[in-house]
Symmetry: none
Subunit: 208 residues, 4 copies
């Protein structure tokens, strides 16, 4: 809450920041694995290497910890959307670029993605309201492109925009379950992403 004084700021804030991130990283790992409700603060503390009580210097509650994780994920995906928007591509290309980049992020951050897509329901009050807003934003990011793509006839118009949007969202949200390569004999992230893009393009484009 209080700003660090000028003199000690760089050192302190780095320390603080690192510790915050360490806690978040630990929480992400555990919560992705067992789910928010089944995760105890104790387990997170164990992983960080501090005592349970000490965590409360960084987070006011378990729910806030979840919120911060979701917020970070949301922020990073939003940046992807912003970056894609600045490329000024035609709708379908924008959409596919967005699919490419966000899928890549999900694959590189499987644990965070898991939490993002399954644990929102554990928030309450204002935090839940904020998270739901993110969800709608996220959906709009895709649905706007779909609408535009139908207008310029690059995306099929025989299906309602909402259905096409859901289809894309579902396919993208699920990449995190695609086979990874723990031992090198599976697929790389780029391979997975280009397959996904190919399939989505063929599913939704107007030309066939």
């Amino acid at each position: 809450m209080t700003m660090p004084s000028d003199r000690t700021a760089p050192e302190q804030s780095r320390t603080r920041y690192n510790r915050d991130e360490k806690v978040i990283a630990a929480a992400v790992a555990v919560m992705s694995d067992k789910g928010y409700a089944a995760t105890s603060v104790q387990e997170v503390a164990d992983r960080v290497g501090v005592l349970k009580g000490s965590l409360y210097h960084y987070f006011s509650s378990k729910e806030e910890l979840l919120f911060r994780i979701l917020e970070e994920s949301h922020e990073q995906v939003r940046e992807i959307r912003t970056a894609v928007a600045q490329l000024d591509l035609p709708p379908l290309e924008s959409l596919l670029e967005y699919v490419t980049r966000s899928s890549t992020w999900y694959l590189e951050n499987r644990d965070r993605a898991n939490i993002f897509f399954t644990e929102m329901k554990n928030l309450s009050g204002d935090r839940l309201v904020a998270a739901n807003r993110w969800g709608r934003e996220f959906e709009r990011g895709v649905s706007d492109y779909v609408s535009a793509g139908q207008l310029d006839r690059t995306i099929r118009t025989d299906l309602d925009q909402r259905l096409v949007t859901r289809f894309i969202l579902g396919a993208v949200n699920n990449v995190r379950f695609w086979p990874s390569r723990p031992s090198g004999k599976q697929f790389g992230n780029e391979e997975i992403v280009s397959a996904l893009v190919l399939l989505i393009r063929d599913a939704i484009s107007a030309h066939r």
Copy 2:
């Protein structure tokens, strides 16, 4: 820990059977909403209208209750697969028929589907092993059709069978999030399913 044995004698009593089902229905509703871990036995009991302790006449543990729910869902989806197999259609048609029927089931049993796709991790021991086996079975159901479809050239061969399979599974598993029609102004289940099938067909078929 212990595997559930046969609980209800077949004829034993309509009453008993109904009560079992009532408990399962209550648990499905609550667990779909809040998740297994965040659901208390108390809440399920309240919904059934009995005392907490009374539930243990029907289920030996909360985990067994979850297992029974998953088992029922598995059973019903498996029946769909069996029925489709008996139609003796060519691979791609079989696959799409299977997509049609299972998607419909997911839409008509959204709560059960939610639990099926997100709460397996809460099982342990033998029950977890059994559930994982279902998961693999389920995947095989799709992946066998994909392989056959690639062999007879009706399904695209430019992508590895495992990637195509995952894409389909992801799309199907996610129908449960598609916009339903609580107030009549959304889509009907058939409409959703035919859109899904159309999109999947265009994504994976060899002809374009």
Copy 3:
């Protein structure tokens, strides 16, 4: 409570009696093994082969079941004492005869003896009062012989009668832990008992 009518009496009472005994036998086995408090009515019912609720036709409560077991044991040991008294032997010989017979009973009824010596504390109210009376009676059975033996100089008089009595009681109560012969290579009951008697005699007799 109600006396059976004349006609059906013999049959009925035998049945009833047998069932009562079956229940008691089951309870003895389980309670000796796990202790009264750790024994559930369910386990007793399982062993008898009836449902839990049915046991309450025979016993009004778990505590009464325990009481009946203790009462039976007490009764049988009391009969031993009476029989010995009727032999009209001199004090030391009476005492050793009593040790012989009661030790034998403990060895032949190890489970009942276990319960008799360890589970009385689980009774309450009137039943506890009655059981404590048995305990004192039991002790008197030995202590009277010791006193008489000290009077006629067959039992050592250098030790207070109460100490000698406790010593004997302790030795006798503990025979149930002496090595039995599950596979024939241990000792028989008679062998154990005569060793015990020999040792006690040498410990307490006045002549040495």
Copy 4:
């Protein structure tokens, strides 16, 4: 299930150590009185003056609490055995010295002795295995002396060593029931112990 590891660092804090001991002392008192199974964690907590949940800072389970009590008792009796062994007395004298010291310990720690001799059966898994090992150790402590005493002809050889051993163990284990002196009109511990030793010596020695 899991074996208890080292709980308390040696120096760690007087406070912690004391609290552990306070909890153990409370548990000893209650469990000796009512038995392990009939003792609720609540009762122990009440006696310590903390909330039920707080006890779990010191012990991971009720069973572990029992284990710790038994372990402490075992440790103290083992030290007695070690001390006696270092006196380098002839077998019979060693045995009687051991009887003297351990009986004294039982009399001074009646509650702990009660638990030690009756509640082991409530352990399970590894803890039960460990406790059974103690039991065998304990028995060996006596039986080795008996064997040696028979070899050097100070202990009677007309009875099998195992029977003599059991007799001694039974007599010693039972001192805890001998009449104590709550109001001064009973016997002192030394008086009880010397009577016991006298009786055992006369029972088992070869000279008579």
